[in-house]
Symmetry: C2
């Protein structure tokens, strides 16, 4: 299958021109090339990215996370529409290595953001499928560059708040938004450790009707909790607010805070510093992933590792000695 | 210098026998071999560890961190004496890759724990020197095994709460203790993000005299903050207490909580599960470090990386393409 060469591919230049003109159809087809596992598409993908690279980057990139049930789709629908109403063009991407395209990813069901999906100024693209988080993150990152080159100046990257993908999203965005629910306790159990500390803003969603009081209490609680954390390098102090996406309450506040944030980090230089850091880090993350896969994909190594694990657990060999042994084997096998 | 062979080395078996008998002098000399950078010592070190391995592990390993000024040495002095009074033998190690032995590491100045240093039941060993955190952590981890084999059944591993070393300490201990001060704000700025979430217990130190009220308030604050975090896999809910190490107040409480913790994790099986996980993880961390150093120590690679960084920042090449390019170069250079 990998040698199958799709016939409906354009030239790299045609994709590049189309993207730079903001042609949504071409953009979608280019993203398909980026996401493709076909060998014949890999070089085409590289050429496309190379061509649009200088036109990318001119956006604010916002990561959004929260456990299933927190109302992410409804929030993004309301939030996206508000951003558009201020004259922006918004692209909505998602990272979710656990989903498979065919089964429908988080955003797969566009009917969940029906209005937004029908707006000219919005572009919604579900998660790429992939074996590894690194692979999916790469493709989402490159898709983001394409969207920027196509003129989308606000990028929302959505993820579910239950896994490692948050770190990946945090590593490719400027602002990290955590959606929560009041009545903490159980709901919170779903949020992984460390995610809270990445948040630039916490929004307590579903703050309507009988939930208002509890949401205001939760807001205070989170404010106190976030106060305990050390200040971020960005110079920005995380804020907590309440919202009801379904009633369109508190949505403007979120966008206003992001605008405030942008002003702060533009002025203190953190925005550019962090973007540069992220670009370089992207390369290093890839290098380290590639190195690991050189090692761990060797069948010989895999076999020996499972034996070494057993020997370590039965105290036959120390972990340090085990690692030295297998690294020697790896070097000799090259 | 690396070929210099020290004359005062014993046979591996002599070290092993001495350690298993609990001979402190032999233990110290064995740790010197472990920490040695001499080529001729490396095999000897491996043999010693191999020999004592089955006798290691029978301890509770406690990580202690806190920023400079929080009173760590005073706390450890009081805490160590209390543990000894209950019939235990305690070894105190430290991880601090930033310190150099010759300049005196955190614990270098034993006069800071004068009483403890003179007790038969306590063994204090300052941080090993080393270039990398990985290297220092390995040596501290192996030193820990030696101490356990020598009969120390409580291991305290100290670190300063300002760097990456906390993750290393967390990865080699059963219980993680964070020392804090009341009057939060500025003091807290020194504690790195994420450290708070690793804590099994937070102790507000220097809770005496005029500080008592503020410390009790801080305790409540931290209790609320920790409440917000998801429950740890250990089934243990982190506790917050106040203490005055210098007045020997609240020290017993800390030890009692650790005993409660041990009971919980022994009963639910987490203790053993986590120890096994840590052993295996130790090997994988080493492997990954070694792989990186194979790559990053190649002068050819280093040169190209700095060029690629520049090209990435000027949007001449994408981070993904840059990483692919250099991995190809690495493969061809092998």
């Amino acid at each position: 299958m990998k040698n199958y060469k799709p016939k409906n591919r354009l030239s790299a230049q045609a994709y590049i021109d189309g993207i730079l003109k903001g042609d949504r159809v071409i953009l979608s087809r280019a993203i398909t090339v980026i996401e493709s596992q076909l060998e014949s598409d890999k070089n085409l993908a590289k050429e496309i990215i190379q061509g649009i690279l200088p036109a990318s980057g001119k956006s604010i990139r916002i990561g959004i996370t929260g456990v299933p049930g927190v109302g992410k789709s409804t929030f993004i629908e309301a939030f996206g529409k508000h951003i558009i109403s201020e004259g922006h063009q918004v692209a909505i991407l998602s990272i979710d290595p656990s989903s498979q395209r065919s089964k429908g990813s988080i955003l797969g069901d566009k009917t969940r953001m029906e209005e937004l999906a029908n707006r000219e100024e919005a572009y919604i693209r579900p998660s790429a499928s992939g074996d590894t988080l690194g692979g999916v993150a790469n493709k989402t990152g490159e898709t983001m560059l394409l969207c920027e080159a196509a003129g989308y100046d606000v990028i929302l990257i959505e993820t579910v708040g239950v896994g490692q993908s948050e770190t990946a999203v945090h590593g490719m965005t400027d602002f990290f938004l955590l959606l929560m629910l009041a009545g903490a306790g159980d709901e919170l159990q779903g949020i992984k450790k460390g995610i809270m500390e990445m948040a630039d803003m916490v929004v307590i969603n579903k703050a309507d009707g009988e939930n208002i009081k509890m949401s205001e209490m939760a807001k205070l609680q989170y404010q106190n909790a976030l106060h305990i954390f050390p200040q971020s390098e960005s110079g920005w102090t995380p804020v907590v607010s309440t919202a009801s996406a379904i009633k369109n309450i508190g949505i403007e506040t979120v966008w206003n805070e992001i605008k405030k944030f942008k002003k702060v980090v533009d002025e203190n230089g953190y925005f550019e510093k962090n973007r540069n850091y992220q670009k370089i880090q992207w390369m290093y993350n890839n290098i380290n992933e590639e190195l690991k896969s050189l090692f761990y994909k060797s069948p010989h190594i895999v076999q020996h590792l499972s034996k070494l694990e057993k020997d370590i657990l039965s105290s036959k060999i120390s972990p340090v000695k085990a690692s030295q042994k297998i690294i020697e084997e790896f070097k000799n096998s090259l």
